[in-house]
Symmetry: C2
Subunit: 318 residues, 2 copies
């Protein structure tokens, strides 16, 4: 029997899974990232998590370890070029893990890994041209071309959150202006809701927050909408339109067979999937949408560890 | 010695070329499309043009005939699904030509064919990830992934002119709103210039038009700009910004090695290439632009016939 290990390394959480060779999770563990202690300490923490899930397994039964890491990763070397969440720059992550653990180590961008998981074991099975759109604090993308994850000329393809949908709009730290994620991410939903409350728009959300704006969450907006709150409903409808506008752009450029929507905002407000589908059908070219469907991602929070295990599986193949 | 034939079939012109097997033009001929006479007459016209360029060649020396056609083409069948320029719908173009001419016939979208020509014999030689952006009356695109033209799930990829850069902007016949080509095409440049003249902005263009707004051309704007006309310069600078904003979107999505800019507007205002380069470097993610260059297309009006010959060459290969 053989096994794979998938790790999802983020700024707040390190999740580690042991999987079988079909990337099904057998063991799972998550700990808080001790981000303030710097890279060496975080890597030690991650390595002890990995050791925990593989503890009593014969060495040769573990085929490889995949790590999904937030940020810009150089896929060929497993180097973290820049990770804002971890505050890392030019860190040879794969090498640093390999110094501590004698297994094949592979590192990929966390969003790309989530797309890889959907492609091989999730909502993308059997499809060859896919765009995965993960909506959370930002918007990340994974592009599948001819059945393979497309990484671009040097590994940075799929930064779909930084597509402008308002060329003269507000500046984004990315260098661009009017970025899609500034309009349609969970962060944008929360910001727009709080701004409406500040303007005095009536909403049960004012009470639900108990006077603490930092308690604003997408789940709370969804809860208020379910109870008929007009502001919450309007914010969700606007988000559907804005998400759909950005997805229509991807359809007109890439003509995919399927759009897979995932991430915390979609989990919190699943009806966004149908809203996006309707907007894409209205805005994108009719011939390009004729063969398209818009579906929800199969995997939730576990998407990263599963995708990382898929990376290790694919990379380990001759 | 072997030959190829490339045809560029547009709403106003049918251009036909005989090329060698390196797709170099040996003979070239162009006639006005007799568009009012309907598809059978146009195809007859095209076939007599093809016969003219291959007249005295031994049959077996002509390896194939490629046709670049404006509109939505189904690449696998050579069917024209929709061509607004020719006012055709669901026309089996490849079959209709094959009934008249006993050679292998291949049909592709004209913009994709121009990209194919650049990839194999033009500004894209040696590059594997390319985005071609052709700016004329609209904006068309050709996407090259891993050294091959990417056509999407059913042949409609690359409709980059219909990416919204203003999600709440003016409606476009495509179904989308705020489409890039509505801001940054030659048509948009002419429209904005005429609107400024209407508002009474001082410009030598008012005189250059001799009172006839239908004489407005991108070349005229370029001429006025070269003479220091403030309005013409502003229109060109704005177009550089708008073209660059849309190209930055493509860079953040696709992370290409090279952007190739072509089409009538780029031929008329070549300084747009440097302007777009600067805007892309400012707006797109710095890691994605690190390995990118922005260059001018090699081919001009002949791009279609050359690309069509390339299609015939590639398709004819075992």
């Amino acid at each position: 029997v053989y096994y794979l290990v998938g790790v999802d390394l983020g700024g707040t959480k390190i999740a580690t899974a042991l999987t079988d060779t079909d990337c099904q999770i057998l063991k799972y563990d998550a700990v808080r990232t001790e981000a303030v202690r710097g890279p060496e300490a975080i890597i030690d923490q991650m390595v002890s998590e990995i050791r925990r899930v593989i503890e009593d397994l014969p060495k040769e039964s573990v085929l490889g370890i995949g790590v999904a890491c937030a940020g810009l990763i150089e896929p060929s070397t497993g180097k973290v070029l820049y990770s804002p969440n971890l505050d890392w720059r030019d860190l040879p992550l794969a090498d640093m893990i390999a110094r501590r653990l004698d297994y094949p180590i592979y590192v990929g961008n966390d969003v790309n890994m989530a797309a890889l998981g959907e492609l091989h074991y999730g909502a993308g099975i059997g499809k060859r041209q896919i765009v995965c759109v993960f909506v959370g604090t930002g918007i990340g993308g994974g592009i599948v071309i001819d059945g393979h994850l497309y990484e671009g000329a040097n590994g940075f393809a799929g930064e779909i959150g930084h597509v402008t949908i308002d060329w003269d709009g507000p500046d984004c730290p990315s260098g661009n202006a009017g970025c899609w994620e500034g309009f349609a991410s969970g962060t944008a939903m929360q910001r727009r809701t709080l701004a409406a409350l500040d303007r005095g728009e009536p909403s049960m959300l004012a009470e639900m927050l108990h006077g603490d704006p930092s308690k604003m969450r997408v789940e709370l907006i969804a809860e208020a909408a379910a109870k008929g709150d007009a502001l919450a409903r309007r914010i969700i409808a606007e988000t559907g339109e804005l998400l759909g506008a950005g997805c229509a752009n991807l359809v007109n450029i890439l003509n995919p067979e399927r759009i897979i929507l995932g991430g915390g905002v979609i989990r919190g407000v699943p009806e966004l999937v149908d809203m996006v589908d309707a907007v894409v059908r209205r805005r994108a070219l009719s011939d390009a949408v004729a063969g398209l469907d818009v579906v929800r991602a199969r995997f939730g929070r576990e998407a990263g560890v599963i995708g990382a295990a898929v990376l290790a599986k694919l990379a380990g193949k001759p």
